[in-house]
Amino acid sequence: MKLESHLRERREAGHKLLVPYVTGGLGAGWRDVLRAVAAAGADAIEVGIPFSDPVMDGKTIQEASQRALEIGATPDAIIADLRGIDIDIPIAVMTYYNPVFHAGHERFASALADAGVDAAIIPDLPFDELDGWGDAADRARVETVLLAAPTTPEERLRLICERSRGFVYAVALMGVTGERANLPEQALTMGRRCSKVTDRPVLLGVGISTPEQAVQAAGAADGVVVGSALVRRLLQGGGPDEAGAFVAGLRAALDAAT
């Protein structure tokens, strides 16, 4: 349970948690982006395995996924690229259920485990449909991070927080990924609701785009996931340096606030 234990340790040491998202296979040097992000103070990294039909993603991550697919990104190649990468923080892959189902639960879980990937996030595989994958992932010691949404009722929220591994991904707003001008009040409510029913790390994600928003959100949760704001910089031609600088800015803001 490397992701969860690592995040718990960091939290116990008094840090707010920062998990940036990077689309896998987005350019030949994408692993250098991971290295830069790790060096800039990320606590874990979410690596997107692009899917042709990402229904939980807004324009930025859609475009990144499509670009990565066009230059040949595949689940196998991305997982192979992650094998033994020289990064000392946990890695979670984020993908959709079809590539997992297509590969086969057992095969996908063991491929992740063999590559040293610690966890998986599959946003279109809700709690009720988790069984086949969830069991295979447990057996392979891959942590499955579940999402909780603002519309999730109380009893179900409790079950989701209980079944989640690694952390609880608290969806900060009603909508798909993408930058927003403001953090909605809903985000803070969501962070507090989850934290009340679990002692697992709770990270707010979706729509969190700036250091200010990250600090605000982290006030109601253990930390944040930041995706589109980082991926946009990569799409606009930014490389590892720019990615690292952006993450360092988030890190500094979070540290200054604690």
């Binding site: 899917f51 039909d53 990402p54």
Partner: protein
Amino acid sequence: MTSLARGEPVLLGPAGPEPTGLGRFEGDFGGRFVPESLVPALEELEHEFRAAWHSDEFRREFADLLQSYAGRPTPVTECHRLSERLGVRVLLKREDLTHTGSHKINNVLGQALLTRRMSKRRLIAETGAGQHGVATATAAALFGLECIVFMGAVDVERQSLNVFRMRLLGAEVIPVHSGSATLKDAINDALRDWVATVETTHYCIGSVVGPHPYPWMVREFQRVVGDEARTQCRALLGGDPDVVVACVGGGSNAIGTFAGFVDTDARLVGVEAAGLGLESGKHGASVNRGVPGVLHGAKSLFLQDEHGQIREAHSISAGLDYPGVGPEHAALAAAGRAEYACATDHEALDAFQALSVTEGIVPALEPSHALAWVTRAAREGSIAPGSTVLVTLSGRGDKDAMQVAEHLSGDSR
């Protein structure tokens, strides 16, 4: 026994079987694979639909609308001249004669009633050919609801008449440019909208696809096609037809038709789009060439590559240009209860013209695929001479006239 003539009351048959577990059909097809944000709304919809479908009041309201607004029952027409040509007895279930011109209106009126029951004020829909978009815009106008229709940019081009109709009816049409810019991508964007608006918005899905309860609910709203046809065939033929045929995009007109005959001895045939030919890779034959997968909320058969990326479909008809099929079709195929054939763009164009000149009925390009298969099967003898064949004519061809005209002038050049 009722005559089921036009203007007679619509008699809804008994409710059909529910899928088991979390929306599962045989073979584990179906399910509810959606982002967490949508789960509570789908649970609510499932409960509302179940309660409504067993409520006499709801059924009466639905039946009244189907009669007084949509113009049901639709007739079954015997095609004497076509039958003579093909050597089999061809009967058409005339969904082209419904208000708005296709079977899509049946499902939409049911979902609009449910929307009102759930006190939602906004409808969103995806559309391929535009028929479902037009039907949804129509129901939205009738019920005073806001209506947004997502439509692939490619389809906006090839079905411009329907885009105009939707706008005329007060709907907003949003062209979708992502991916293949067709039906699959329109569904993606509708789902993305719904993830943000689910508390006030109903997603009116146009076929037997999507997460539970849609495949079941849409089948139930479309089963009136098959239930009527069965009664009409018995009056006309004194029994069930030998073969029952319908085109399959997502599969709603086919499943609605099959629902009336699944417990008879009739041979059930769904006809998919073979596009430029199965070997070309440019087709929409998800049962014939797809593999199990999960897309748009359900486990079913999808066209995909070796990594599980969904492939783009191709068909001359926008309504069949979808790389998947509803989960109940995957189940019927796996169980061997229905067979799935296909017809190419070219064959569909021929059938489009053939029905027009032999019967004075201009079919939509989608059911032209079903007619094309019947034509080929009769010629090749895979339908025995003299058999009775019921074909669901799911829609009329006005929307396709311009596109066909362009193809034909292209051919003769």
